[in-house]
Symmetry: C2
Subunit: 259 residues, 2 copies
């Protein structure tokens, strides 16, 4: 009898062409499939919860796969980490019900977009933050963020290329915080459109720069047109923090340590 | 008339063979010399305060050079950063008295050694922390650290290859703190022997693992023999935070933002 195993996965997205397998470069999904197939001696194809873009990082992306292995579920992480490169680490492996699918299970996803806001870039955080030397007005960004919380049609905040039928989504929380030189946009929701977090971040940055008023965000939502929102902020600032499955078929996941 | 210019420099040491120019690979000193010579149109050879090892990072290393340029001293940083690669950034440029030499001026240097202490590595901080899965006893490390503060002969904590005549140094502060999964060993002193901070860190890690008692550090100091101390901890965990020049010939430097 096969078992369904859930993996919680952290990665540095810098050198990957995103999560999803594609022809033009190496991806996180591909690296995990290869390592898992080697470890278990079966051909494994994982199903991921979030297909992060090229250059985007994760502390807790989630994937599942089916296997006949006799390795205890919680031990798979150890064997897998010995085969994976240093920039991908499985944080947890566990058995889940066979009907559990991370893309269709009810869940809250949390992302953080980090901005380094100071006179000069800081080399040791260059890969995980978006550098802006122009001082940002955090209070204005917080005001603007408030308009986005709740259920809205986020069509203005979505790149073409998304495959979903409706662009209505619910943002359950959206906070902007500053600590030292780092401004963090932390957003949680039940689902996100293609590039949605990066377009929200790009729009909030323009509010912080004074190019837009906080109130203008309300108008952008109403326009339902991508051209009215700000630019798509660069991928390096974005990290998928974790996915909290809210259904009864799964328990709340550990998001893993944060730095 | 020439001027003496002081640079405060941050870098990610990952891909460099350390600070000092050598034949076998690229170094931070070499990159700055090339960029400065190109910017100013004169051949520049900087004099650095701290010759950090391969893989060691800095938020605030210091170097000086002499120039006839008409570029205002504080503007040199902007021009230089446009020529430097993304993993080296000048945080400040300023004119200093002509007799100021960063290696001989009285100064307190501060280093941090960061340990990631959790079950699995975290990809996004792998380049800037040393990963240890075995839980460390931070309290024991703090007790051990107390023995090292003050003026001592640190011969046991020095690798061969150092060029100094005496191995007596003064540690003005040595703190061990844990925040989340990160243990930080923060050490300040008037000067350090070759590999001294990494050998102190390697020894404190062994105390944290229970291989040594805190009290044994006193014995290690008294032995004045490298073989009695712990191993040299890996370079990636080490960052030169800043150098505080204490003489009257220079003011306290800004250490730059920390993450």
């Amino acid at each position: 009898m096969h078992k369904r195993i859930k993996l919680t996965i952290a990665y540095d997205g810098t050198r990957y062409c995103g999560w999803q397998i594609q022809e033009n470069g190496i991806t996180v999904e591909e690296m995990i499939n290869k390592s898992l197939s080697g470890l278990l001696g079966e051909k494994i194809c994982i199903m991921g919860a979030s297909r992060t873009d090229a250059g985007v990082h994760a502390l807790g992306n989630v994937a599942v796969f089916d296997t006949h292995t006799r390795i205890p579920p919680e031990k798979i992480s150890y064997g897998l980490n010995q085969r994976l490169p240093e920039d991908i680490t499985v944080q947890k492996s566990e058995e889940v019900p066979k009907e559990f699918h991370p893309r269709y299970a009810a869940a809250i996803k949390t992302y953080e977009y980090k901005i380094l806001n100071r006179t000069f870039p800081q080399p040791i955080c260059r890969l995980y933050t978006h550098f802006i030397y122009y001082p940002l007005d955090v209070e204005a960004m917080q005001k603007a963020a408030a308009y986005l919380v709740g259920e809205h049609d986020f069509k203005s905040f979505s790149s073409i290329g998304g495959q979903t039928k409706t662009s209505v989504r619910t943002i359950t929380a959206l906070d902007v915080e500053k600590e030292g030189d780092i401004i963090t946009i932390r957003v949680s929701g039940t689902g996100f459109l293609y590039n949605m977090v990066r377009i929200i971040s790009g729009t909030l940055i323009q509010v912080g720069q004074g190019y837009r008023t906080p109130e203008s965000v309300q108008e952008i939502i109403e326009k339902r047109d991508r051209r009215f929102a700000g630019p798509t902020a660069p991928p390096r600032g974005l990290t998928l923090i974790g996915i909290n499955f809210t259904g009864n078929d799964d328990k709340i996941i550990d998001m893993g340590g944060q730095v």
